[in-house]
């Protein structure tokens, strides 16, 4: 086994991106993700890459747009209010069929909110925070190792589908330290050549154009249908973890850091004789609806309880997936507060029907 090193989530994500081939990073500071641009500012020049601290988030995402259009592995990171500012650019990147990676270490909102952890950007991430009919591949890692593994592969996924990939973390994931094993450095020469990239060279007969403007309705509808087919194919990326769910009567469900709290709660509930289990989506889009439907159809399952650091967002997708087969309850904390495992157990016991 490779050597384990103790790393902060933000730094680990940054190093994983570099090892995954990221050579262009454009950012603007905001807590609680500042270690990502800080790390990149030092690390990217070492590997022949470029780091730019832009004058604003709007500028940073448009630099990503440009670098991605030229075929580079480009990335930006921010936290909630900064990600809101980037939404126009994200929509353009999606419309122009460009790959990139965006990290959101979510803080509490709305507005400037606070700097403490939250999952209040779930809707924004999975329902399309920018305008128009687009989707991203959205991951909700629950540990630093998982964040590393996902970030490392994120550029490959983004290029496979030519879409923006979002990694939805939160303040805990960004600020926490855990031992991690880092993957090998990707050989940049091994990355497939992008036949569509506008890299300034006269490499082919056909003109290459990066564009998201389609004035003709039929042409744009053709693009929209192409996107619909792409998002359908992207369902192959759906990932989900279950924990003690097979014989569970009460299914807790949560993503990211909340899922780890839920896992501890499941252990405590099991010790006190409650048959609890956990479903944890790893991809938030595509959402693992089939897994929920399968468990909802089981006779043993009595109830789902969704746990989130918001007022109830993913619970809507859980309800759509469960489709009325079983009751779906919700417990959330917000403002930067986090439920403890013990508090979660108390709330679950209150909600059990």
């Amino acid at each position: 086994m490779s050597e384990r090193i103790l790393m902060k989530g933000n730094e680990a994500v940054a190093e994983a991106a570099v090892r995954g081939g990221c050579r262009y990073f454009f950012g603007y500071p905001i807590t609680p993700q500042n270690e990502i641009p800080e790390y990149m500012s030092k690390r990217l020049p070492e590997v022949g890459g470029a780091f730019i601290q832009a004058e604003s988030e709007v500028s940073a995402i448009n630099m990503v747009y440009g670098a991605a259009g030229a075929g580079g592995r480009a990335m930006t990171s921010s936290s909630s209010p900064g990600i809101s500012l980037k939404q126009e650019g994200i929509s353009y990147i999606a419309g122009a069929e460009l790959p990139c990676v965006i990290v959101n270490m979510v803080r509490s909102g709305p507005g400037l909110g606070g700097i403490l952890p939250s999952q209040g950007d779930y809707f924004q991430s999975v329902k399309g925070g920018g305008h128009g009919d687009y989707r991203m591949l959205v991951y909700g890692p629950a540990s630093i190792q998982e964040a590393v593994d996902i970030t490392y592969k994120a550029f490959e996924k983004a290029e496979k589908y030519r879409i923006p990939v979002m990694i939805l973390g939160d303040g805990v994931l960004g600020q926490m330290m855990e031992p991690v094993v880092l993957p090998e450095m990707t050989d940049i020469a091994s990355i497939p050549v992008k036949e569509w990239a506008t890299d300034g060279t006269k490499s082919g007969k056909d003109r290459r154009i990066i564009n998201s403007l389609y004035i003709e309705a039929d042409v744009l509808e053709g693009m929209n249908n192409k996107f619909a087919a792409l998002y359908e194919r992207m369902k192959a990326e759906t990932a989900c973890e279950t924990y003690l769910a097979d014989d569970a009567e009460i299914i807790l469900t949560a993503f990211g850091i909340t899922a780890r709290i839920a896992k501890s709660a499941v252990d405590i509930l099991r010790e006190s004789g409650v048959k609890a289990g956990l479903i944890r989506p790893i991809t938030l889009y595509p959402f693992p609806s089939d897994i929920y439907a399968q468990y909802a159809a089981k006779k043993t399952v009595k109830q789902f309880i969704t746990l989130e650091l918001n007022l109830g967002q993913m619970v809507e997708d859980v309800r759509l997936a469960v489709n009325g087969a079983k009751p779906v309850d919700f417990y959330g904390r917000s403002g930067g507060n986090i439920m403890s495992p013990e508090e979660t157990v108390q709330q679950v016991l209150k909600k059990i029907k």
Binding site: R4, L6, M177, E178, P179, I257, R260
Partner: protein, 176 residues
């Protein structure tokens, strides 16, 4: 085995680094660990704390409500967390600056003059390493020599401070 620890004190007392020392020690002993700092509206001179979970299994929740051990380096931190400690748990109190005794009788209270001991080791800045020594002695979590190895690794870029820190660790270890 899962050990949940909260370490709290003034910013500048080495609260966060003490937590990191333990996380490193856990990692070098092939254990799992999470280190979570309070990063909220804290400032220099204000209170800082971190939560540590050390386990032989993957750590589920890094969020702690009922620690097995509280390390309180100042009075506001002791007041804030004392009632959360698990009955039967341990509280290490920096009696150099906390002069009160705790009222709870269902936890093991250990009073440690960390600042004075650190001064004997060569610098009051090593008070957090004194506490690390005391915690390792009390918990028996990791072998003493392993943690000393961890200290040497952590300070490898500042080799001149290693002997002082090892001395501080040793003095803390034998003080309890």
């Amino acid at each position: 085995m899962t050990e949940k620890i909260i370490i709290a004190g003034f910013g500048g007392q080495g609260v966060l680094s003490l937590g990191q020392f333990l996380a490193y020690a856990a990692m070098y002993e092939n254990q799992e660990a999470t280190w979570l700092p309070s990063y909220g509206p804290e400032m220099r001179g204000g209170t800082a704390n971190c939560s540590l979970v050390i386990s032989d299994k993957p750590v589920a929740s890094p969020i702690i409500e009922t620690p097995d051990c509280l390390i309180a380096l100042n009075k506001p931190s002791l007041d804030k967390f004392i009632n959360n400690v698990r009955p039967g748990g341990t509280v290490i109190i920096n009696s150099s600056i906390i002069h009160d005794k705790i009222e709870r009788t269902d936890v093991k209270a250990v009073y440690l003059e960390a600042n004075e001991i650190a001064a004997k080791a060569g610098s009051v800045k090593t008070a957090n390493v004194v506490v690390l020594g005391a915690y390792i002695a009390l918990s028996g979590l990791f072998p003493k020599e392993s943690v000393k190895g961890t200290i040497a690794k952590i300070f490898k870029k500042k080799p001149d401070v290693i002997p002082m820190n090892l001395n501080a660790f040793e003095l803390g270890y034998t003080a309890v």
